[in-house]
């Protein structure tokens, strides 16, 4: 099927730009109809909104959509924009893809674009009284000094709708009414895994609604990137999702290498793949430890951290860092692997394979664990795709969404491993996916570790790296889902816009759907199995 022809049939004014990835530029008036058709038509069925990126083009403000079909695997990139900078308005797609709800709020927060028909047009990361929109190019960085007054939480929100005459009107929606019993969880709460805040409306002990509040660790990394050179931007990726430090950096390096057309030596590909998988095991061990800790079991926590230290030792030997390694660089890796690297990995794998049985003995088989996880917090496959909850959460709901299989990169098309998919969609399935994935990661490492080819560990790059003009997107499978990087370059040594597809934001957006009708006590177990990392959500 010719996608280009198809899009032109629906929206004839569409233009195509072929700089980097092919992008379809759609006028804002016909955008919603096109998106709806592309999603609902049988032969296109773009049911997965991978990424939604706000953009400031200088003269206009716009949004870029990365769509993907889980059925056929084809992708397309759409762009729409408005030239009205005073009062920019675009049509919302949050009724087509549920993940658009939070993403559009993010765009409103950063660029001030208001989405018509979005039920909840509030800021997502910044405070309500924030002045201006920080991601606009004309934003004054000094315009918002530190405000130490306590935040007031509003129960009302606004929605823009179109009335019978075709005029845009504002409507008021209620988040929580006066009679509801609302309790506040977070931002300082040990089991929200960081500084996330939930407002939870309860009926007895049944959850009626959850409203997540993000932004307590919003560090503005994407905006900072716009004034950093490409090698400098790498340093901040490790700090996004610190339990996927290698994979995040791998994604950005891969993107820049792809844009520059640099061929990467095979030795580097081997090293990167092994490091990624070690990082995945490290992250999943931490997931296991923290889930157990959240549910009140202390011993698995000490077990997990004991074995995690062995991986950290391997990292430290080669990279010098424990948690944040700063190892990948554009064109290769920072330093060659330590002479003992192969040995210590080979020692670790059989040890850990053995100890994993112990993990299952002490925790997985426990009757309390079964009762608290099985059948709790079910997420259906349709919802998982609509929310874009990639990674272990998606795979537990029966959605085969592993980026390593869908879009193989590095060495993943040459190694043999199984994609773990469960169909139950409950907390226990989410837990088991990660436990089984550790075995698969070990299998991958075992296939590679003996065959690391000789050669250079780095390609010599120019001192100043300039990415050719265009827009690019790459994604990797990080420890908790598909981590994507979108780059819009104007040919400078600084990126024009660099956006990270957060793995955690869809998970937080889905919390309300997952927990609705469940018990408040289960919220902790559900949050634990979703396994989000807050700095990755807030960026």
């Amino acid at each position: 099927m010719d996608l280009k022809k198809r899009i032109l049939e629906i929206a004839p004014e569409t233009q195509f730009v072929e700089q980097g990835d092919i992008k379809a530029i759609v006028p804002s008036s016909s955008f919603y109809a096109l998106a709806k058709k592309l999603k609902e038509d049988e032969d296109t069925s773009f049911d997965f909104l991978l990424s939604l990126t706000g953009m400031d083009f200088g003269d206009s403000l716009g949004v870029i959509y990365h769509l993907e079909s889980t059925k056929y695997g084809h992708t397309c990139v759409l762009q729409t924009s408005t030239t009205n900078r005073e009062n920019p308005e675009l049509y919302s797609v949050c009724d087509l893809w549920k993940t658009a709800n939070f993403n559009e709020r993010e765009v409103y927060d950063f660029f001030g674009i208001r989405f018509i028909n979005h039920p909840d047009m509030r800021r997502l990361f910044l405070r309500d009284e924030w002045n201006g929109y920080p991601f606009r190019k004309d934003y004054d960085m000094e315009s918002n000094p530190l405000n130490m007054t306590n935040e007031v939480t509003e129960d009302k929100t606004t929605e823009l709708t179109i009335d019978a005459e075709g005029k845009v009107i504002e409507k008021e929606n209620t988040l929580f009414d006066d009679k509801e019993y609302v309790i506040n969880i977070g931002p300082q709460h040990p089991s929200t895994h960081g500084v996330l805040r939930f407002r939870t409306s309860l009926q007895g002990e049944i959850i009626k609604k959850i409203e997540p509040y993000c932004g307590y660790i919003h560090r503005g990394i994407e905006k900072m990137n716009e004034s950093l050179t490409y090698p400098q931007t790498l340093a901040l990726t490790d700090r996004l999702d610190y339990l996927s430090a290698h994979q995040n950096r791998h994604a950005l390096c891969m993107l820049i290498e792809k844009a520059l057309g640099v061929e990467i030596p095979e030795r580097v590909q081997y090293i990167r793949t092994i490091m990624d998988e070690l990082q995945r095991i490290d992250s999943h061990i931490l997931f296991y430890s923290c889930l157990a800790m959240d549910m009140g079991a202390i011993t698995p926590f000490t077990y997990g951290f004991r074995d995690r230290e062995m991986i950290l030792d391997i990292f430290e030997q080669t990279t010098g860092g424990r948690l944040i390694q700063n190892y990948n660089v554009i064109g290769g890796v920072q330093a060659d692997i330590h002479p003992d690297f192969v040995n210590s990995v080979k020692k670790f794998i059989p040890y850990f394979r053995n100890i994993l049985k112990e993990y299952h003995d002490i925790f997985t088989g426990n009757v309390i664990v079964h009762q608290r996880l099985k059948g709790v917090g079910v997420l259906s496959k349709e919802d998982a795709i609509s929310f874009g909850t990639t990674g272990g959460t998606g795979r537990a709901s029966g959605w085969a969404c592993d980026t390593r299989k869908r879009k193989p990169y590095a060495m993943y098309d040459k190694v043999d491993f199984k994609e773990i998919v469960y169909t139950e969609g409950d907390s226990f399935a989410r837990y088991m996916v990660r436990m089984d994935e550790m075995l698969e990661s070990m299998k991958i490492i075992e296939q590679l570790i003996d065959n690391i080819p000789e050669g250079a560990y780095q390609v010599k790059m120019k001192p100043i790296i300039k990415v050719p003009e265009g827009s690019y997107f790459t994604s990797v499978e990080s420890s908790r889902g598909e981590f994507g990087v979108f780059l819009e370059s104007k040919g400078d040594k600084y990126p024009y816009r660099l956006k990270y597809r957060s793995t955690g934001l869809p998970l937080v957006a889905a919390v309300d759907t997952i927990t609705k009708g469940g018990k408040i006590a289960d919220l902790i177990a559900i949050g634990g199995t979703l396994d989000y990392v807050i700095p990755d959500i807030d960026r």
Partner: protein, 193 residues
């Protein structure tokens, strides 16, 4: 009589960094002399206080994972008496600010600090808490927690190694050992306008 030197079991007094500011603090506290009886009682109380500071489980980002690591078996902060962490600020003696503090989090942190009972201590952990770290140019990051709350020990690193965490706690112990629990004022807060 010279100033008393706080004793930490495993490291000699001379081997600690930055003894000058500790001595300066002790000299200021003891400028008006020390009551013989109260001073002796203070020493006993401080011995107990220094060996059991309970910290608040407060972590915003990366440093929090390393904080968990020192709670686990390998680094085991229980050896020093720090192992009790409290999720409630009302039961905590000390707050380890692990990670970046953003503009939205700043009032929350201040509130947590205000909710803690005196005597209370703050350790700024990691580059972000010390002075903004890699995010100094950001529009939404507080450039160091000392802009909001008084800091007792600064611990640089991104993230600091677990050994550094323990070292910072020992520095805090030395500070606690010198302070007056009875009959003295250790810190005066400015009057709010």
């Amino acid at each position: 009589m010279g100033l008393k030197k706080p004793k930490i079991k495993s490291i000699k007094y001379e081997e600690f960094q930055d003894n000058e500011s500790l001595e300066k603090m002790a000299a200021e506290l003891n400028a008006n002399g020390v009551n013989v009886i109260l001073g002796a009682v203070d020493d006993v109380i401080n011995w107990g206080r220094a060996n059991s500071p309970w910290s608040l489980t407060f972590a915003t980002s990366c440093c929090g994972i390393e904080f968990m690591a020192i709670g686990a078996a390998r680094y085991d902060m229980a050896r020093f008496g720090f192992e009790v962490t409290r999720p409630s600020p009302r039961q905590a003696d000390l707050i380890m600010v692990c990670g970046t503090i953003t503009h939205r989090m700043a009032p929350v942190l201040k509130r947590l600090y205000d909710q803690m009972a005196e005597p209370k201590y703050v350790v700024a952990v990691g580059g972000c808490a010390v002075g903004g770290g890699p995010f100094t140019k950001s529009y939404h990051v507080v450039q160091g927690v000392d802009k909001i709350i008084p800091v007792d020990v600064y611990l640089p690193g991104c993230p600091p190694r677990p050994e550094a965490f323990l070292y910072s706690m020992m520095q805090l112990q030395r500070k606690i050992k010198l302070q007056k629990f009875l009959g003295g004022v250790n810190r005066k807060e400015k009057k709010q306008k």
